[in-house]
């Protein structure tokens, strides 16, 4: 379950520690080292073979295409099937899109972190970014949306309901609101989020690698 109560209402410029916590300043890297499972996902201290793609991004829209390209190359290199690569590239870019839209980047040092880990039979996509002073509203909405999606037994039903809701809005309303539910449905992913001590928001999506989706 998402946790947003810890967030303090203060200007994001004061939050220099909320900038990206790991990874190089630009570009991405493949990490094929074995290692511990990311904490809080498969349980702290769990040991598993881990393969990861880590990127530190500036909040520019064209970086999203870069994420998609590198995600596809990394997953191809890991031997995943095309349909899973397509789905995870979508999950990655939708999460990064949200990060770019809702993150706080007033401080030029603030950046966004993208991590993709393969842990045994799961793929974990995580996007972390600094939050802004009006973050409480966004986090409440994020929490509501995630809980709403979880209320459906089948994410497809959630997707259909969202399509109907969005379709009824005025034609010039630019708000989509389809990203998270698409991640749950098309990406077959479980979405979660938490706010770290430095007030950075971490949103994650975990997808299982079904039998037959390794090449």
């Amino acid at each position: 379950m998402g946790v947003y109560q810890m967030v303090e209402e203060r200007n994001c410029k004061e939050r220099s520690s909320a900038k990206t916590r790991k990874g190089p300043r630009s570009g991405g890297k493949f990490d094929d080292r074995g290692g511990q499972t990311p904490q809080g996902k498969a349980g702290p201290g769990a040991t598993a073979s881990r393969k990861a793609l880590e990127m530190t991004l500036r909040p520019h829209w064209d970086q999203i295409e870069e994420v998609r390209t590198r995600t596809r190359a990394f997953l191809r290199h890991q031997g995943l099937a095309k349909e899973l690569i397509d789905a995870l590239a979508m999950v990655s870019s939708e999460l990064v899109e949200n990060g770019v839209k809702y993150g706080c980047f007033e401080d030029p040092e603030n950046a966004l972190t993208f991590n993709l880990h393969i842990v045994e039979k799961s793929v974990i996509v995580e996007v972390t970014h600094p939050t802004s002073s009006n973050v409480a509203h966004h986090l409440r909405r994020l929490d509501r949306t995630i809980q709403w999606i979880r209320g459906f037994q089948d994410p497809f039903q959630a997707y259909l309901e969202k399509l109907k809701e969005v379709a009824r809005r005025p034609i010039n309303d630019s708000e989509s609101g389809l990203g998270l539910v698409r991640i749950a449905y098309e990406g077959k992913s479980i979405i979660d989020f938490f706010v770290a001590e430095d007030n950075a928001l971490n949103v994650s999506a975990i997808a299982g690698i079904e039998k037959g989706l390794w090449r």
Binding site: S93, E94, R168, D173, G179, Y185
Partner: protein, 125 residues
Amino acid sequence: MGETRTFTNNSLEIKVTENEDSIKLTWSGKSIDREPGKFISPILLDIIKRSTDAGKRVILDFGKLAYMNSSTLTPIIRVLERAKKGKNKITVTYEKSLRWQEVNFSALRIFETADQRVEIKGMAR
């Protein structure tokens, strides 16, 4: 072959081909803009108006589209919703063998009408 016009925005291309009985929009490339509706909505609204005036069917062909972000669906489903409640004839076609297209576009069947005025078709090319 009817009149053809092509609209391009970054990596998205929409080719509009008008024939005697239909106006076909062939989508190709990627739709990855922050607000894709700014480019897509005016084209769709213009085509819908012209098709209404001329009594033609609008065909939205997504088969060659390589990728779209979720914001791209917004103007499309709003047009389908209006067509469902109105009198327009719209056919959506997509590439059935591409999973991402199948899962996204087959869901649009909720906008289909019993008289096939609005129809969604998965094609195998």
